[in-house]
Symmetry: C2
Subunit: 541 residues, 2 copies
């Protein structure tokens, strides 16, 4: 019995599994397994349409089990791979026990990840745009920002943050996201009585001097003109370098006040691939031969975005779906050949072209050397991707949704899908308030790095008192290891001081509910906080 | 300027707001406000269809802003109401400050809540079925259970828990949920290679001797026969009294092993209504006169499920959508009359009948005195509710989905919508393991009430050793205030003992990630746990 294990449920993994099913599915001596973090395959090209709900939320994804009838699909993460001993360690599910499994052939196709490490505040405050959960979360945040802006009609600063939407990365992915986001926000904002369309800012930040580096300058310039016409601001030659809950910091030192920040860059190797000691390119892709096999490993294969596959001209294949699907087909052929001892075939696909949607019946495309833009490109985009969508059921549903979208308004329901809310890190930049005097206490903080000042208004100072400006008093400077914000929770009173960031800082932020549950039951925790509190009250007199 | 505030975005609140818009929307001296926790209105009768994804996930809800063009919709919770001073306190949004707002007329329509307090383990382990998030969460849990059962093919106990689905409450709501759940599970299970349809159990628990007490015995018996034919087990004359993460406990002392438990009962007053000192019925509904006004309060009105409205025959109106919508229409009329000093009109609607879907082209209905069951009732159900759905756009979408559903398979994508995962309470019943020796450590626990024993296998005891049973050794008894499970996390090793519940107990459960973040930064917390750990290691030698 030969066990073939595929890691990854994207284009590469699914097409490889389908090809293997076609060639080996009926063989009694072969077992096919596919591991995926989600139970569905995401049709990436249509993912941005989830933001506006143009197509049904579930139509952009396909259940893996429906696509793969002869493969054992395991919705589990892989914790580690041992290529020397031909085993993988599978993460636990409901039962907390690890599971080591041997394989005869291993196919690596986990793709890449958006890795915000090294960019302060991005892991906590920026959204990636890779899978369905990301798209739903973005949609939810946008609607929530509009709802809040509609209610908070008097706070101009907050409104500016709420009504500014920033996307970083001007490649195909970032451009499609910003175009869809812009269409959606401007369309639904009309349903909000207290939001003026002129208040809305949608910003695309891109490091180079023009967007869409994947296509010719002419098409890139065309795309820029279209995006600007629709009201999108292009911020070029600047990169996103840091983020807080209230702003995005760019490489030239400027900041953009926003509560909704998406970053489609940087694309990094999957942690599983990162941990493997195999020959790799300098951007971390596994080097394979043109038959998709890893050098020196008879039973180790890789394809898709995680692999560097040599194309006919010697350069590496670009990380696109059209290459991944064709590598998948070849994978099926070559593994079947390897099992039978037949010779392997090399990869020889040149690429058909490139397409990117700009939303609202507009797109750019380079196909078979032709450069197309506008409605025709958009029509091609829709037709080709509809045909590529797996399964007739889904094609019918998407075509129906697209038809209904011509007459119906976009959805504006907030599903409130949010992973956040628990114990988490938060990042602050100098000058920013963690909280302000008089706020309700909803979180407790522990300073991990950086510095903050505790500021208090003088007692008896009335807001807008005659005689000019009231100078606030700095009552303490906080450094790493110190906690703050606990007074409002222990005493259930409003914040009695403002905490303002001095040096860029990271804090551990604990929600009131979690802190309450813990403080009531862990004697040491409550004592720690009470000691700090006592010291502080003492020193402030 | 008169400010009319409506609390609640269900049938009662929305229909009242629409009626007020019709009568007062153009008046410059009237301001309409509606407060709702979600930004959408849920069309409750179709909510069970979200489980199977028969209709699009968003089609069962309507954005409030689209329904109410002249009302200021605030997606905020109300924290408290002061009927003496005519003010409400609005919960904070992004900015943590409370907001007190005066009103001229207050319309109470928050509905009821499913309140699991007093039922051990239900708040943590049972799912209500009230809003869209509940339906999506249930859908997600069902799919996750199937995925896990497919992978965990060797653990019979776990498989039994995973493949058993329990619904408590045999009224319309519970019956519609169990019928839809059963259809969905049995349909999609065919896509799982290692699940035998015979392993699936779907159970309906109901306290009385027959389900659907709302309709005649004949229709109730018909519904029972249909549900049983479809493979649903009916457990009658028993109530759900407690729950753990692995089982449901019934009033006769028996338990059902399950990981998926839904309870549509008990229905309790909304906390906001509960906190008001107003005349109420014994089940907590506010007593209003037939004009929907609260006795002794000129500007306080209530309708829908939170109110006890006298019908023509003197009895209180039942809590149904048909009554709520008609009370809403009257509310608009009466508040307009009150503003102008005209006399108020009384409520005089008798009710048209009752309908409940049994899934798969079957239903029961009592309309205008006629008792109908089977396909005709189901056809009526669909036709009437489709017509009642707010807005043409949604009607088209739902009709399209229903049509496509005739030819396409149900969706089986797990969106992984889950609120859980943070610091939480968990409930255990005697005999149940919190964790077992050898498990990976994923959580730390603090015992709040009840008792547990710490059990260890003797060293060197091989599993299945010859010579019969190996007796495990009880090494400690744990009581309230003690923490356990920290060794595996501090040392990152597998659990070195089993912790088993002796008396019903509640524990505070802290996930590894949260505990790690906290322990690394709060000196007192780590010390507390290390002290306990040292004591325990000492005493075990």
């Amino acid at each position: 019995m030969k066990r073939i294990v595929i890691v990854g449920g994207g284009f590469a993994g699914v097409y490889a599994a389908q090809a293997l099913e076609r060639r080996l599915g009926r063989r009694e001596d072969v077992e096919l397994l596919l591991f995926s973090r989600e139970n569905y395959f995401v049709f990436q090209p249509m993912l941005p349409e989830v933001i506006s709900g143009t197509i049904g939320l579930l139509d952009v994804v396909s259940p893996l089990r429906r696509l793969l009838r002869q493969t054992h699909v395991h919705v589990r993460e892989i914790e580690s791979i041992d290529v020397a001993n031909h085993t993988i360690t599978v993460a636990p599910g409901f039962k907390p026990h690890a599971n080591v499994m041997a394989y005869d052939h291993l196919v690596l196709a986990p793709g890449t990840v958006t890795d915000f490490r090294g960019l302060p505040g991005l892991p906590e405050h920026a959204l990636p745009f890779k899978n369905l959960a990301d798209a739903l979360e973005l949609r939810s945040r946008v609607i929530r920002a509009l709802e809040e802006a509609d209610v908070e009609s008097h706070d101009a600063t907050l409104r500016r943050q709420l009504l500014t939407f920033v996307v970083a990365g001007g490649g195909f992915s970032g451009v499609e996201v910003v175009a869809e986001l812009n269409d959606f926000v401007r369309d639904v904002a009309r349903s909000y009585r207290r939001i003026d369309p002129k208040e809305i800012r949608v910003v695309l930040v891109h490091g180079q001097d023009r967007i869409l580096p994947e296509v010719s300058p002419k098409l890139g310039t065309f795309a820029q003109r279209i995006l600007r016409q629709r009201g999108i601001e292009l911020v070029l030659q600047r990169r996103l370098v840091a983020a807080t809950g209230e702003s995005a910091s760019l490489s030239d030192g400027t900041t953009i006040a926003t509560k909704t920040l998406v970053s489609t860059i940087p694309s990094s190797p999957h942690p599983l691939i990162d941990a493997l000691a195999l020959p790799k390119t300098k951007n971390g892709r596994i080097v394979v031969d043109s038959a998709l096999r890893v050098q020196g490993h008879e039973n180790l294969w890789a394809l898709g975005d995680c692999a560097s596959v040599p194309a006919q001209d010697g350069a590496a294949c670009p990380p696109t779906a059209q290459h991944a699907t064709r590598q998948g087909a070849l994978m099926g052929e070559n593994i079947a050949a390897a099992l039978d001892g037949r010779p392997l075939r090399g990869f020889d696909f040149k690429g058909l072209g490139k397409m990117g949607s700009l939303g609202r019946r507009n797109a750019v495309a380079e196909i078979f050397g032709l450069k197309i833009s506008g409605f025709l490109a958009w029509f091609l985009w829709r037709t080709i991707y509809l045909a590529k969508l797996p399964g007739w059921g889904r094609r019918i549903k998407v075509a129906t949704s697209w038809t209904l979208d011509l007459v119906l308004s976009p959805e504006l329901v907030d599903l409130r899908i949010s992973a956040g809310g628990g114990v988490m890190h938060e990042h602050f930049e100098p000058g920013q308030d963690v909280f302000a005097e008089g706020d309700l206490g909803d979180r407790v903080y522990i300073l991990l790095s950086g510095r903050a000042e505790v500021v208090r208004e003088p007692r008896g100072a009335a807001v807008g008192a005659p005689g000019g400006q009231v100078v606030a008093k700095v009552v303490a400077i906080l450094g790493p290891g110190e906690c703050f914000g606990e007074m409002a929770l222990l005493g259930n009173a409003p914040r009695n001081a403002t905490v303002r960031c001095l040096d860029p800082m990271t804090v551990l932020s604990i929600p009131k509910r979690d802190f309450g549950l813990l403080a009531a039951n862990v004697p040491g925790l409550r004592k720690s906080f009470e000691e700090v509190n006592a010291r502080r009250v003492l020193s402030s007199h």
